[in-house]
Structure formats: C-alpha cells, structure tokens
C-alpha cells in the first residue's frame, strides 16, 4: 500500500499515480518557501498566506496536465500564487485593513510611528499599495524577477509592468516621507 505524507493508507497499490503524488510532494516541499513568502508579502497576514499557499499547490496539482514547460515550474507557481492573492484582495479588501498592523496605525501613522521601526513602516506602505502595484513591487524588489517574467506572471506587457513599478516606487517614497 502506498502512503501519503500524512502517513495515510491509500486505497491503491504503489502505482504510477502514487509515484506521481510522491514526486509532487517533493515539489511542494521544495517550493513552499517561495510561495508562502509571496503570499505573506501580498496579503500581510500569516493565516491567509498559509491558506493561499495550500490553495496554490492544490490548484497547481489540478492544472499540472496543462503545464507545458514553457516557463519554469517556479515561474508557473509565481503566476498561480500571485493571481490567487490578487483575487483575494479584490474580493474582500475594500472595507478591511490590508495588514493586521494597519488597524493600529491607519489614520495616525505619525503618532504611532515612534514606537515602530522603519522596516515595519515600509511593510505597511507596501500593504497600502493597490494590489496590482503591490504584486509588481513584490515580484521585482523582493523576489528579483525580471520585467519579462513579471509580465508573464501577471499576464500583461513589459511596459505595463514598468509603469506599475514606477508608480509603486514613488508611492512608497511618499509614504515613507509621511512616516518620518
């Protein structure tokens, strides 16, 4: 009998499928840090980032037959997790704060700033960027993807990526000026 990572007995003998699942498990193990990191930067909340990470891999598994190897597996995962986070942000973020910490700081950033580090202020500022800009900034500045890769991940063009990145960078600069 095959076993899953959870130590669960499967109802089929060690077959091609169990081998594939075992191979996929290794892929998840190897890529979980990247996926979780992007989700955390995008969503700013650990519980949501974990859910998004799980959803990303389950979705990747379902879509594996459509993976053609045109991009690397990692780029493909970037694409799934980023879109997942963008959809989440668009669907329920209009009324809620973007980061847990925003509740404490929104509206009065200067007052509370004294107690907090500049790095936290920067995270807040990233969390307040519009989702598209945030995704571009996270993929470029924090993940180090090329403009071409980002355009592929976001399903857009290189000039559009450059435009968003411009706006995101200026936005951050202004936010940090306000913070000081």
């Amino acid at each position: 009998m095959g076993r899953t990572a959870a130590g669960e007995e499967l109802e089929f003998p060690p077959s091609a499928e169990t081998k594939h699942l075992a191979a996929f498990e290794k892929l998840v193990r190897r890529n979980q840090t990247v996926v979780y990191r992007v989700a955390l930067r995008m969503l700013g909340n650990e519980a949501e980032a974990e859910d998004a990470t799980q959803d990303t891999f389950v979705q990747a598994w379902r879509a594996l037959p459509h993976f053609r190897g045109e991009s690397s597996f990692e780029t493909w995962l970037y694409r799934i997790v980023t879109n997942r986070c963008l959809n989440l942000l668009r669907s329920h973020r209009s009324t809620e704060p973007l980061l847990e910490t925003h509740e404490a700081s929104s509206g009065r950033p200067n007052h509370l700033a004294e107690a907090r580090s500049e790095l936290d202020a920067l995270k807040d500022a990233i969390g307040r960027l519009p989702p598209d800009q945030r995704a571009t900034l996270v993929l470029r500045e924090l993940e180090g993807l090329s403009y071409e890769q980002i355009a592929h991940v976001l399903g857009t063009t290189v000039p559009a990526v450059k435009g968003r990145l411009h706006r995101a960078r200026l936005e951050l600069l202004h936010a940090m000026r306000g913070w000081r």
């Binding site: 959870a6 979780y36 891999f57 190897g69 924090l142």
Partner: protein
C-alpha cells in the same frame, strides 16, 4: 504623481529608478553638484536600503503545509473516484538534482546521469548493450535520489541473472561515485538476446 520634478527640473522617477534598478544617472555631472538631487538621492538610498533589508528577512514557513496539501489532493482524488493521469507530466518537472553547498548550488541534469550509464555499459560491461531503439535509459531524479530504468540486450550464452546483477551493481557504484547522488533503484528490462557478431 508621475511626472513630478525636483526644483532643479530633474524627474523624481528617474532618481528612484536609478537607485532601485542600479542604472546610471541621466545627468551625472548635474547630480554631483545639485543640492536637490543630492538630498533626494540620499533619501531614496535610505528607503531602498530598507527594501533590501526586507529581501533578507527570514520568513518561517508554517509547518505541515506539505502534508495538508497532499491530504487535500488525496481527498479530492477519492471524491473524483479516479486518479488523474499524470505520467507524462510529473517526471518532466523533476529533471535535475540540486546540491546546495557553501559556495553555491550545483545542478545535475538527468541526461548527465543517463550519459554516465551509457558510457559505463559501452566501455566496461561485456556481453550486454543498450537496446537501440527509443529511450533505453530513463533516469528520474527526485531530490537527491535517482531511479534508473534500463532496457538491455544480452549476448546469447550469458547467464541473464548474473549479467543483470553485474550491471546493476556497476551502475550504482559508478553513478554514486561520480555524482554524489544516491541511486535508489536500477530497474532492468532484458528486451532481447543476440548472438555476438550477428
């Protein structure tokens, strides 16, 4: 906000890109003397040092993600009552081994391992050869472990179990010695027998 300029006429965006992308300044001579540019560049540099700090921040991945993902997939497969055919897909994803060392990462492709095995059979193992047609060597790498499937032709008169055992032992020894990876399985299919010189 875009199109915003400093008092000296320099575009703010160009200074931001200069720092963030590490591109050369548009007007280097001007920047060296202009107090507006200098002050703004200093400000942007400071901000970007924090952005870079953020990239180095250690992020702890919650434990158990892998297990929960696999459990969800297994449940989904059960609910479907069938298994998704992935034979053609998953092995294609794992085409190399990554060895992480202090000085950098080494990547060994599956075809490298296949070549080592082919060379070994050709040069050092008499009485046996690879089947000519199609893929006679299939190497699958998962993590640091190798599974090799070989399709062989054995010379007539050789004891097949002996030949197979010899090939298997030699492949394991040679591949492990030359790559530093573990050989988990060498599966051998004897596809034909031939009389030497035929």
């Amino acid at each position: 906000m875009s199109g915003e300029s400093l008092a000296c006429g320099t575009e703010l965006a160009s200074l931001v890109d200069q720092v963030a992308d590490g591109v050369p300044p548009e007007r280097p001579a001007h920047q060296e003397t202009c107090p507006h540019c200098k002050a703004t560049l200093q400000e942007i540099n400071q901000l970007w040092s924090h952005v870079r700090e953020l990239t180095r921040e250690e992020i702890a991945v919650p434990s158990g993600i892998v297990e929960r993902v696999i459990r969800r997939i297994v449940e989904e497969l059960r609910a479907l009552g069938r298994l998704v055919p992935l034979e053609a897909v998953v092995p294609r994803l794992v085409r190399h081994a990554l060895l992480h060392g202090p000085g950098g990462t080494t990547r060994i492709a599956d075809r490298v391992v296949a070549k080592l095995i082919a060379r070994l059979l050709l040069d050092e193992l008499p009485g046996v050869r690879l089947l000519g047609a199609g893929r006679a060597i299939d190497v699958e790498i998962t993590g640091l472990e190798i599974t090799a499937d070989l399709r062989l032709v054995v010379s007539y008169g050789r004891r097949i179990p002996d030949v197979v055992a010899k090939v298997r032992a030699a492949v394991i020894r040679r591949v492990e010695a030359l790559t530093g990876l573990n050989v988990r399985e060498v599966n051998i299919a004897v596809e034909s027998v031939e009389v030497d010189g035929e």
